[in-house]
């Protein structure tokens, strides 16, 4: 009786989700099975077109690779940052957490255009490198994958850091001391104690960063430009420029499925390694 009542409480939310997410998703699937852009003639032509074209596989591959690169970069920068945060005195932690969540507080457009200023030919990075004499010609960073990964790394950083910090700050600080007292170096402690125990946070961070960076349409287009084609750009072109909705639907479903596949693989890994927080 009690159980039933609690279960019923979730009904309004479940219905709202169904109306807002499920219905459009089903419509999307439906639309993809039409041959013409007027959506009159049912068929598999759009699927055949997308999956018959080697270019599609390249775009899918590039998109997933962009996600992987961004995830790697956020780990490489974020993990040490999380360690610094944990060692910092409380007052500094407050400042750090503000800096960490800052990208979430800014509009996508603002932070993306900020990166244009930073990465451009006359931008901060080039000016600095030129004046230091490290390079003689301005580097091309805008409209390259490198520039895009750099900016996505900053933009997605909170999604990596917040789960990581929340898991790591719940670890017993005595574990580190215990490891040291047993003769382990800092590196051994890091790789045999801290990294395995922070896995749940790391995996959650990877999930969020991957899902967010592979679908970051604005950053991908504004910083990457139209020469770097990823699935979101393809969807936009097909739906709002060419008005071929069935094809756009096929690409959308492909993006959804690719991201979901990687994300579920990651979360399966995460569940296998998880659950050790709180000794």
């Amino acid at each position: 009786m009690n159980k039933l009542a609690e279960w019923q409480l979730t009904l309004p939310l479940a219905l709202a989700f169904a109306a807002i997410f499920l219905a459009p998703l089903l419509m999307l699937v439906g639309v993809s099975f039409f041959n013409d852009d007027k959506i009159t003639e049912p068929g598999f032509a759009q699927w055949a077109k997308f999956y018959g074209d080697p270019f599609s596989y390249k775009v899918i591959g590039d998109t997933m690779l962009l996600g992987v690169k961004t995830v790697c970069a956020t780990i490489l920068v974020g993990y040490p940052l999380a360690l610094v945060y944990l060692d910092a005195p409380q007052r500094l932690q407050k400042v750090l957490i503000f800096i960490i969540v800052m990208p979430l507080l800014l509009s996508v457009v603002v932070r993306t255009f900020a990166w244009i200023v930073v990465l451009g030919r006359e931008g901060v990075v080039n000016q600095l490198l030129l004046s230091l004499g490290i390079i003689s010609e301005p580097l091309r960073l805008l409209q390259t994958e490198l520039g895009l990964v750099i900016s996505l790394t900053q933009i997605e950083m909170p999604l990596m850091l917040l789960p990581l910090i929340s898991v790591m700050s719940r670890l017993d600080p005595n574990l580190r001391d215990a490891s040291a007292a047993l003769g382990a170096s800092r590196w051994r402690t890091l790789f045999t104690v801290i990294v395995p125990l922070s896995m749940p946070g790391l995996v959650a961070g990877c999930l969020l960063v991957f899902a967010s960076s592979t679908t970051a349409f604005i950053s991908q287009t504004v910083i990457g430009g139209v020469r770097l084609i990823y699935l979101p750009l393809l969807i936009w072109q097909q739906s709002l420029v060419v008005f071929n909705w069935p094809f756009a639907a096929v690409v959308s479903i492909s993006l959804l499925v690719s991201v979901l596949t990687v994300v579920s693989a990651l979360s399966w890994l995460g569940r296998r390694s998880g659950g050790y927080v709180h000794g």
Binding site: D177, A180, G183, S185, G279
Partner: protein, 361 residues
């Protein structure tokens, strides 16, 4: 590997630790003999854990030295000190099995293969957890976890063993078992050991010597019997055991003996501490079992007003009040005493050794 390591000496010299402005440890000096068990006893926040953390190398001292076998270890990082520590919450690695936990320090020292297995088995057998090798820490009871933590600390054959309130989380019976077990292990391994506790019974039963700490200082460092019978400061006196305090005044001084007139109405001759002068106000501290009841008045006894008498195991605890208003506790062996109601005088028992402290008025 079966050899028992000879115990090391541990010398803490004038150690001072600051957290910001606050002094957590204030000029502590302890000279600990090889194979000795020393209990650090004191109220919460008096600096016991901090002292251990300095010895283990987790915290840097502001001043003073720590020596093991005469050599300072202050410059060594924690992972090169070879000091075993068991934390109050055990701090077992939750993602490793019992065997992996115990092997951790051996691997960290570059030991590999069968040697590790042998050592792990040896110490798991010592703590009687041979059958639990593949369990994860969270699948163990508190006492079992505590024994794994002990095995993990001991397996690397440390030169010194530090135990930070290792029994605090255990229930009474288990605590007693573990105290005996730790004592036995420490004996067979000949390990110099520091045990932090704020349980005075534990300190009394496990330790060879007790360092009573208060506000970052060691108030007295002595054997349990000496601490109990001859507390050096009022703090130690009040912190260890129960005691009766009686006000009085020095009537006369004669070499090492003071004649004290108690406000309660008796005159006692007692060994005098240094620095007393005739006429000085003093406080007499005497344990409940060092007082006796009597039915005859005399110069060395004082009149009391009897309160409740409670049987406590094999003993009787009498409550009483002196004529000057101090309350007393008197403990006697339980025996039928026909004249009990008539015993309205209190005196020092035959083997009593009360302590005099100067009193500020």
């Amino acid at each position: 590997m079966q050899s028992t390591p000879a115990g090391r000496t541990l010398d803490v010299e004038d150690l001072t630790v600051r957290y910001g402005q606050a002094l957590a440890v204030d000029g502590v000096t302890l000279a600990i003999e090889p194979g000795e068990v020393v209990a650090l006893l004191g109220p919460s926040g008096c600096g016991k854990t901090t002292l251990l953390r300095v010895i283990a190398g987790f915290v840097r001292q502001a001043g003073g030295r720590v020596r093991v076998d005469g050599a300072t270890i202050d410059h060594l990082p924690a992972n090169q000190r070879n000091i075993g520590i068991v934390f109050q919450n055990y701090a077992l690695f939750p993602h490793m099995t019992v065997a992996e936990n115990v092997a951790y320090g051996l691997h960290a020292r570059g030991m590999r293969g069968p040697e590790v297995l042998a050592q792990v088995s040896r110490f798991l057998d010592i703590v009687q957890l041979g059958g639990f090798r593949e369990r994860l820490p969270r699948q163990l009871s508190g006492g079992q976890q505590q024994r794994v933590a002990l095995a993990r600390a001991l397996a690397v054959e440390p030169s010194i063993l530090l135990l930070d309130e290792p029994f605090a989380a255990l229930d009474r019976n288990l605590r007693l078992d573990m105290q005996i077990e730790v004592k036995r292990l420490q004996r067979t391994l000949g390990l110099t050991t520091i045990l932090v506790t704020h349980d005075q019974d534990e300190a009394m039963s496990v330790a060879d010597r007790i360092a009573v700490m208060n506000r970052g200082r060691v108030e007295q460092f002595d054997t349990p019997v000496a601490i109990y019978d001859r507390p050096q400061t009022l703090f130690v006196n009040g912190f260890i055991g129960t005691t009766n305090l009686l006000n009085g005044r020095v009537a006369a001084l004669d070499g090492g003996t003071a004649t004290v007139a108690l406000d309660a109405g008796a005159t006692l001759r007692l060994p005098a501490p240094t620095g007393l002068s005739t006429g000085a106000p003093v406080m007499l501290s005497v344990r409940p079992e060092q007082l006796a009841l009597s039915q005859v008045p005399g110069p060395e006894s004082w009149r009391i007003e009897r309160g409740l008498s409670l049987p406590l195991g094999a003993q009787l605890v009498h409550e009483a009040r002196t004529t000057d208003g101090a309350s007393l506790k008197i403990v006697e062996p339980r025996r039928a005493s026909p004249a009990d109601a008539a015993r309205i005088y209190c005196m020092l028992a035959a083997d009593a050794h009360p302590t005099l402290f100067p009193r500020s008025t």
